[in-house]
Symmetry: C2
Subunit: 448 residues, 2 copies
Amino acid sequence: MSLAGQVVTSEPATAGVRAESFQLANGMDVVVIPDHRAPVVTHMVWYRVGAADEPPGKSGIAHFLEHLMFKATETMKSGEFSKTVARLGGQDNAFTSQDVTAYFQRIARDRLPTVMKMEAERMTKLQLAEKEVITERDVIKEERRSRTDNNPSAILGEEMAAALFKSHPYGIPIIGWMHEIAELSREDALAFYKRHYAPNNAILVVAGDVTGQDVRKLAEETYAKIPRNDNVRAYKRPTEPPQNAARRLELVDERAGEPIFQRHYLAPSYSSAEDGEAEALDLLLKIVASGPTSRLYKELVVDRKIASSVSGYYSGHGKEYGRIVFYGVPSRGHTLEELEAAIDKGLADMAANGVSEAELERAKRVFIADYIYESDNQSTLARRYGFGLVVGQTIEDIETWPEEIRKVKLDDLKRVAAKYFDIKSSVTGYLRPQAAVEAKAKATGDRS
Amino acid sequence: MSLAGQVVTSEPATAGVRAESFQLANGMDVVVIPDHRAPVVTHMVWYRVGAADEPPGKSGIAHFLEHLMFKATETMKSGEFSKTVARLGGQDNAFTSQDVTAYFQRIARDRLPTVMKMEAERMTKLQLAEKEVITERDVIKEERRSRTDNNPSAILGEEMAAALFKSHPYGIPIIGWMHEIAELSREDALAFYKRHYAPNNAILVVAGDVTGQDVRKLAEETYAKIPRNDNVRAYKRPTEPPQNAARRLELVDERAGEPIFQRHYLAPSYSSAEDGEAEALDLLLKIVASGPTSRLYKELVVDRKIASSVSGYYSGHGKEYGRIVFYGVPSRGHTLEELEAAIDKGLADMAANGVSEAELERAKRVFIADYIYESDNQSTLARRYGFGLVVGQTIEDIETWPEEIRKVKLDDLKRVAAKYFDIKSSVTGYLRPQAAVEAKAKATGDRS
């Protein structure tokens, strides 16, 4: 990100968006996205820290801290933050990803000063009581139990990531491994907080019925008063060694309602890819596997009926890596092996013969239309900037994305297909409701 | 380890060994193993630090530092250490494992004072010149290229470990990933050195023609003069989340001379296992897969001739985890799939029916005979103590091992087989000289 002391105004390529950005003296970046259709604002603080920045053995601490940020500060009681936002007629929430921890509120324009004051307060004045930390840890353990441990498909997803990444922390789940969550302490949370929460590690994004000048004035009265913290430092994230060997894994879980096939390929992200590659991957996956008009869906679900669902997408928002993901459920009477072979054949055909100009144009139209349509949603728009900036994109990257999508050519799709549909860089996963031998026997009608 | 200030003498259960141990005032542990058959000594310093203690992204730094320990110190020139040992008629070497870095010399008894003086010197007085560090890094890169990157079977081994361990650093190779070795700096080496090399993080093992009193006197004049360093601290190693999904991987490498099958199961180590489990695993693997009289070898190589080699062992010397490893090469005309199915059938038979009392007795006799036989080798004996102590065993554990082996019963073998031959905790790897489709076609006589 190239945010200097002065105001930089970039012309949006589409959708009438014009973000304005500046930096406070303490190093906090500010982005303002005017939207004057209604007297409301979306206020977000994005910290440049996520689960991938956790120290070894402390998985889950980023997300745990996100929960604890709703407890007491020097001047607020535990829970007061959200109660105040609600009383003022607003909504608030937060989320943690591998790269980002973000806090946001949607609220009437005239309430923005209150929200900014409270958000600035909890940036460095959190007060954690031991008892509350332990109670919240139980909440998170329950969250993990219900979302992951009781969900075979979520377990499969964790195993896929762990197998895909040999070194990089994207292989560790955001919520954390249960045995490590169970050991997280108040001290761990405070150490993580002190190391990463500071104005010079944060981006303020305000979208809505305000001007840059309004936000600057309010920021000077709140965030700008927090001293810069030069002790903020991320762990250097290890990068991946070569991907040499195709990996497979099989999870047998009787709680699974249906067998599931997954394939993940390691890929670059928008932040790490060569120019145009991420855009080409987005378009390629849209054509091949996204939605009921995609190639794989039409062939495997509609025509051949060997799958009850097939989908795929390119996940390009990571700081260091992206992923290409395929997902499928075989129809009754068909096996995971059949489905996998059919998907592989579809991908091989596509890599050999490419896609048509008409398919490419339609995919571009859909993406660009979505981009414009989503720009209408204030919260989506604010997220687009926050997410992009925090992983290293510039405002220009974010606003000229439709242009970059338009530039992609048929050959680019062929090239990224050849480069990234590489079985050596992949993990293939099967979720089976029962052991393979029985499953096969049933599928083929043999006696078990 | 329970080494106190006073001398502790433990009675060996076998082999006439009697180690004596004490601790210096600065926290350095000392073990003396008398062996008066010849006027020579084996002198070893074991640091309680290995590759598994490396910071994220710095893989290889433990081994790199081990190389650099032969460079200059405050009073010695680069290379002088080894030259001096050689001039005195001795041999010296060093090695790095996941848990341990050890330096050792074998030398005439009367030269021991010189060696101890030099070894004490390099414990804290290493002087690293930037140029030498870079040159040595090239040496290590070449070591990795020749030992690993040009050796498909070694690459397979790395991939197996990376897939087996989702969190614990045993999944990272000791020598380091090439892209991380290439970035290691003088500062990285010095930081690791200062954090881990200190008398209170080391064990001195001297075997040979000396008494405890001799060694104590010499140690007081050398190691005891180095101040204790309370900044020594290991990173807390992350432990493994549950092993949910059987993993497989396939490495295709045309440089491979023959196809190779491997299976690794995660298991506890001697240090982390419940009482008797590690001993039972050692005996079980000896019976099932070690050497030409083992069950799998007799069945698959001698009788059915579907494999040209099959072997397996239990690796129980890690601090936190052990591994059960199987390895096999199919005979010409047989496939990896056939070999795997045959090994799985052999393991299932054994788990269901156990082994015979005669097999167990023979395995015990072999282990105990080896233990006694190896006790005759001064260097092997010194290593046994060093390795055991550094991963958390006591002198008593080490000396009473034959007793523990004797105690194992048939039921113990069945129990550990049922517990640890669990496909969910395993990785299965295939190394193929060519892609699977061709290989299968050839094996079945189809046209490709």
